[in-house]
Symmetry: C2
């Protein structure tokens, strides 16, 4: 287990895809923020504005960046990056607990 | 939307009932803590150690305290209390976003 200290948490969840993806926003003293979220098994497509670092805390997924043909497997303890102003497809194979960092 | 400021968030989620109930722990400067969670539609039974205040931020549920015959409906903006060392049944009618405060 690890912790984020001296942060602000937005109480209300972000809810996507009928609740199959949910997350909560954690804001740091420097104004940067991350979301901590859960993805239930299924297939989803997300758009990005900022670039994102997706850290997988638990579970198993496969993702495909916009324009790529290949699906890439990711499991607990691994991470992947998504470019800004893009999108990615994701298949959740086992319930995923994740931390998403939004990069400037 | 509301926020909890100057808190510590445990990064990893608590996962119950195959991920149909998930929560994250928020610890305050005085050592007290709450969990922010999501419950998907379904019926669940929870045990308590500490007494709990369950605030419903979004969604709709019905609950029944241990030993009670009656189900009580609760909707967004409402809350209910559960005694320590007890249990309650809960039917999630629409995806619930909740804040649980553990009381001493």
């Amino acid at each position: 287990m690890s912790e984020f200290t001296n942060v602000t948490v937005t109480r209300e969840a972000n809810v996507y895809f009928d609740g199959n993806v949910t997350s909560r926003k954690v804001t740091f003293a420097d104004g940067s923020y991350k979301t901590l979220g859960i993805m239930m098994p299924g297939e989803f497509t997300f758009g990005t504005e900022k670039a994102e670092l997706m850290e997988i805390l638990a579970g198993k997924l496969s993702y495909r960046l916009k324009g790529d043909a290949e699906w890439i497997d990711v499991t607990a303890g691994e991470s992947f990056n998504v470019p800004a102003n893009s999108s990615f497809d994701i298949q959740i194979l086992e319930l995923v607990d994740y931390c998403c960092t939004y990069l400037d």
